[in-house]
Amino acid sequence: MAVRFVSSNIISSLGFSTEENFQNLLQAKIGIQSIDDPLLYPTPFLAACIHQAELEKRWIETNQKEVAASRLEKMLILSITEALSKTKIDISSSRTAILLSTTKGNIDLLNPIESIDPERLLLWKLGEFIGHYYGNPNPVRVISIACISGVLAINTAAMMLKGERYDHIIVVGGDLVTRFVVSGFMSFLSLSETPCKPFDRDRDGLSLGEAAGTLILEKTSFPEKGDILFSGGATANDANHISGPSRTAEGSVIAIQNAMTEAGFAAKDIDHINAHGTATRYNDDMESIAIQRLGLSESPVNSFKGSWGHTLGAAGIIETTALIESMKANTILPTAGFHSPGTTENLIVTKKPLSKPLNTCLKLASGFGGCNAALVLNKM
């Protein structure tokens, strides 16, 4: 039995489909811009936001049931609907389950919006709303574990497919750029003054972004040539600090080791690593140490945070989606914002698209609370 990826969608500052986003990443386009909106933050700041007029236009076209939805709910539903439209999967079947990855969900509903049930501030109520929208009979599982939520949701989907109950899992994730999140990261002094520069010598912090993404996974006994399969995943905790990564990359190393053991691959098999790469000094150094400790330094590394910003609960999903597209195209995507190396351990960071056979790849994520996650993808 194998688990393969059958469809996807990305809604971000760089477009409304996986294809559009992939083309923009290929050109190292940057969705991060200056935002001057006193409702979001008292002074101008940088973030990668979704094109509002386009979002509303698409929502009106899609929302035939005329359901009243919050901004995040519109993004999530548009994302699932588009990913689903490319398949024949029945989302209302009891053999299909939905997993939701989010850190803050409808946190903007702390200031209630007319016509939206304020209870949807609760993450499980948000999940329930999405499930009801599609008439799905199963509970929508909600995963909320900081910035590894998306990767853990994919790992969890694969685990669910190994059981008997489901044939398809729809993994959807999203988070917004809100006053709540911008003020929080500002108070941490962790936002860069310029669009963020992952793994760069002069990196000085992260950029926030907003996005929704969907990945649909399927159980199959007959994977076909070219299919991208889920082959292993794991999480681990640094047990070191709640708001900074371990200096020895302890948790990341354990997560990568366990994911590779489950997948049955060794360091020499890894063709490419899509890192978390937030562009904070500590995160990127920590990842360089993990990669070095595991003998993975020969694998080219990239990060998409310089294009999309850090999209929190969507990050693991949309970044894994872009990695899947890279594997299909045998092309490693560039790292927008990266110019000169400058991490504790040397890494090969891609500045330009790089053609290379990509058969086995690694995706990394790390977050507040000392959590780390990894997953391994393999091409049939």
Binding site: A146, S187, T235, N237, A239, G369
Partner: protein, 212 residues
């Protein structure tokens, strides 16, 4: 072999229960937040960082502290001990506290030490640091404690050999009430006398054991 539950702890209605027996309590007039602090002092653990945590993390941390005093740590491998928790409200009470500090431009004072606690897994991170647990982590949000999901998820982690033990449970808090049920689960072992298996039925029983 089905993993076994080796200890469990409940905290609710100003009472702390360990393996079903009340070990600390306070009258209904005591504020639940003060109760959590008093119960922590009662454990005898000196850990000043506890008092800097938000109310939600204090509750989970206390439950883990009580629980781990009952576990023979010489027999567990901290490196492969996981933490899998769930709740209903995520961090809503702390979210509201942070929101108050940013609601208006006139009184705009966001604090990083409040913001960091607006993620539910920070509590798991605090427990991981205290007990050196570096294994699998997960946090789920659902309407109620879901023994079906917990047994499925954790038993799969044991099956795939990603964990050798796990601190798991439900740690829930809103403005009005709190409800913590945490338990320790280890690899199945024939030699153990008390064999509480990590099954849906057993978890349902244990979760309700102190409901009277």
């Amino acid at each position: 072999m089905t993993p076994q539950i080796t200890a469990f702890c409940h905290i609710k209605k100003n009472q702390v229960f360990l393996n079903g027996k009340s070990i600390f309590s306070a009258g209904p007039e005591v504020d639940m937040r003060e109760f959590v602090k008093a119960a922590f002092r009662n454990t005898g653990t000196k850990y000043p960082k506890f008092f800097k945590m938000d109310d939600y993390s204090k509750l989970g941390f206390l439950a883990a502290e009580v629980l781990m005093k009952e576990v023979d740590v010489s027999t567990i491998e901290a490196k492969s001990t996981g933490i899998v928790l769930s709740n209903n409200h995520s961090t809503l009470t702390t979210d509201q506290l942070f929101q108050e500090s940013i609601q208006s431009d006139e009184s705009f004072f966001p604090s990083p030490s409040v913001f960091v606690y607006t993620l539910p897994n920070i509590m798991a991170g605090e427990i991981a640091i205290r007990h050196h647990f570096t294994g699998e982590n997960a946090f789920f949000v659902s309407s109620a404690f879901d023994p079906d999901w917990h047994t499925f998820y954790i038993n799969q982690l044991f099956d795939s050999k990603k964990i050798s033990a796990c601190l798991s449970g439900w740690v829930e808090m809103d403005d009005q009430s709190l409800d913590a049920f945490v338990y320790f689960v280890e690899k199945g072992n024939d030699l153990r006398n008390e064999s509480m298996l990590h099954t849906v039925e057993e978890l349902n029983n244990l979760y309700k054991i102190n409901d009277k």
